[in-house]
């Protein structure tokens, strides 16, 4: 090492840090395609920060000018369309990655002891992301923004005793207006984002404490070489850095293809009603949330009573926190647990159906699907402790499989 490097490292532990978290951090060698999601999420958050910073340089947070300023970005700002499409499509792509990342955790039992806290921090990031997405969604002040803001803040109204005051506080007044946009912007850009960033750091610290799980759900630290290095582990750098670099290439190709050829994704990533100016006089026949929040909305509607509906939605959102304690099987990975795997497949399909039904207008013909979906969703968590303690398991290998 050069003299400067020695001087520097005496005062700042860069070399130690790189060793501990990259070149001498051992990860299992059998990661599959689902393991790309983590590093891609990190990339996407950075891209959101970048595009968001550029958007904010042109955005005006007043009810009078917000819509026009966003259209100004789309029509008049140089490369403004690219910045906005990056930011808008980036949200949907982040949620696709978040769902892949969580599915991976559920499939291979990555939430199990000793990774409970890792799972809880990760799930907190997901919940914060839902809030961040909602806050950002209101800012362009299209008609959908206005009514979504109205509907979501009115959920706070259902909180006992302090509900009305809390709604008032969230909106900055009795209705959605300039005060709402300004506090939503402050939350979206400063407080919420900083909390998410802090949680991501905690997620990584917790990961490096317990080490990565893998598709076989077995602990690589149980089989070590005499020098203490796991037999099935490979250093994160260079192996996973080059592998993730390939993942980044493919992902950016997909991202660019969406931005350049289908930026609204046929109204799924950027909805039609966002192209009308916010108008309190024109209520939308059906305010549906973006696709990534739709399952919870479908469950909210499954019960025609506001308080019970909100209760069910809240329960659906917090239940995954309990996963580490609901699963009682000594085997982690669904690869060796056919019953658990079947439950996950049914749950996955149910979630997709709930995404779809949550986007439909509130018609009685969808009630049955919404209720059935909600019942299966809750049923998964009710059945898990029972099924996991009685289900037959296949033989788990000693070492990771290729």
């Amino acid at each position: 090492m050069s003299k400067f490097s020695d001087w520097f490292n005496k005062r700042f532990p860069a070399r130690e840090f790189i060793r501990a978290s990259m070149t001498q951090y051992y990860a299992p060698k059998n990661f599959n395609i689902l393991y790309y999601a983590g590093s891609l999420l990190l990339l996407m958050i950075v891209l959101q920060l970048l595009s968001g910073f550029l958007l904010m340089a042109h955005y005006v947070a007043t009810s009078q000018d917000a819509f026009n300023s966003v259209q100004g970005i789309m029509y008049d700002t140089k490369w403004g369309w690219l910045i906005r499409y990056m930011h808008v499509d980036g949200v949907s792509l982040i949620f696709i990655l978040l769902y892949a990342h969580m599915l991976r955790g559920i499939l291979y039992g990555s939430f199990r002891e000793p990774r409970e806290l890792l799972w809880i921090i990760g799930y907190l990031i997901y919940i914060m992301m839902m809030g961040e997405a909602f806050l950002g969604y209101v800012l362009p002040f299209g008609n959908l923004s206005y009514w979504a803001g109205q509907v979501i803040t009115s959920i706070l109204h259902a909180i006992p005793f302090i509900g009305p005051q809390l709604t008032m506080l969230a909106r900055g007044g009795p209705g959605i207006g300039t005060a709402t946009l300004q506090r939503f912007l402050a939350l979206h850009v400063v407080l919420w984002f900083l909390i998410i960033a802090a949680l991501i750091v905690m997620h990584l610290v917790a990961l490096h404490q317990v080490g990565s799980n893998n598709p076989d759900g077995i602990e690589i630290k149980e089989h070590k070489r005499p020098d203490g290095i796991p037999l099935d582990g490979i250093p994160f750098h260079p192996y996973y850095t080059v592998k993730d670099f390939f993942g980044v290439g493919v992902w950016l190709t997909i991202f660019a293809a969406i931005i350049l050829y289908a930026p609204t994704m046929h109204g799924i990533f950027l909805e039609k009603n966002t192209f009308f100016r916010a108008n309190p006089m024109v209520s939308l026949p059906d305010v549906t949330p973006p696709w990534y929040l739709a399952p919870y909305y479908a469950m909210l509607r499954a019960i025609p009573n506001k308080y019970w509906g909100i209760g069910l939605m809240g329960l659906a959102i917090v239940l995954p926190f309990s996963l580490p304690w609901l699963d009682r099987n000594p085997v982690r990975s669904s690869r060796y647990r056919p019953w658990y795997r079947t439950m996950i497949i049914i749950m996955g399909i149910t979630f997709l159906v709930l995404v779809w039904v949550g986007e439909q207008p509130p018609l009685p013909k969808y009630f049955l699907i919404e209720r059935l979906g909600a019942a299966i969703y809750i049923g998964f968590y009710v059945l898990l402790p029972i099924v996991s303690s009685i289900e037959p398991t296949r033989a788990v290998p000693e070492r990771v499989t290729r």
Binding site: M74, Y239, F245, G249, L260
Partner: protein, 230 residues
């Protein structure tokens, strides 16, 4: 298991189609989306629509930079409003006050109409006017019942009764008329998203470079991982 998957997929697709069914079936306009079509549509829009409708978000200047229209032509045949400015958004010739007095409502700005309603909607709306003596203007529309806008394209389309009878033949054949409307829709599609041509021009270069980058990254990864897979 595969049968179950296919069954579910079919069920979802089918249910999706049912939910989209409306009172009026929306038909898609037939046109080739390129700069020539949009230029054609721009002129038609200026002749027939711009008296009342603005395109607030799009500056006249963009017709020169995006579509390659000569500035002289834009000033002569497109900037018809007396207070139009080459560097500002497209204005209607009629004032809002006049519009309210004459039609009961100000004509909406059409900058984002195709993004907001979809081009099928705009096309079907423009081809769904019928003669209705009960309305103050004499016009009604199947897509927007009790519409305030009169059928300004009637001289070309002809006049139809509610059940589709020809009351008065237009100057154009139905096929020629539908092509004309499709061109106007193409123009409105462009105004809804003027980045279209730029995005599509960039596409092959951006995707090409990223695919090459991914290929190189894959080769690098394979080389590094050779000793893991031995």
């Amino acid at each position: 298991m595969r049968k179950v998957w296919i069954g579910l997929l079919v069920a979802i697709l089918f249910a999706g189609n049912v939910s989209l069914a409306r009172a009026v079936t929306l038909t898609a306009p037939q046109y080739v989306f390129n700069k020539a079509t949009v230029r054609e549509g721009t002129l038609l829009f200026m002749d027939h629509c711009s008296a009342c409708h603005s395109i607030h978000s799009l500056r006249y200047e963009r017709l020169e930079t995006d579509l390659g229209m000569p500035k002289a032509q834009i000033i002569k045949s497109i900037m018809l409003s007396s207070n139009a400015n080459f560097l500002e958004g497209m204005r209607p010739t009629m004032t809002q006050a006049d519009a309210k007095a004459w039609f009961g409502i100000a004509a909406p700005d059409l900058s984002h109409i195709v993004r907001a309603e979809g081009q099928r909607w705009v096309y079907t709306y423009l081809t769904s006017f019928y003669w209705d003596p009960k309305r103050p203007s004499g016009w009604n529309n199947r897509v927007v019942p009790a519409v305030a806008m009169p059928d300004v394209l009637a001289p070309w389309e002809g006049i139809y009764s509610k059940n589709g009878q020809v009351l008065h033949r237009g100057r154009l054949t139905p096929a020629a008329y539908h092509r004309k409307v499709a061109d106007i829709v193409a123009f409105l599609r462009y105004t809804s998203d003027p980045s279209y041509f730029k995005r599509h021009n960039l596409g092959p270069y951006v995707l090409g470079s990223l695919i090459i980058l991914s290929l190189l990254a894959y080769l690098l990864k394979r080389n590094y991982w050779r000793d893991v897979h031995k």
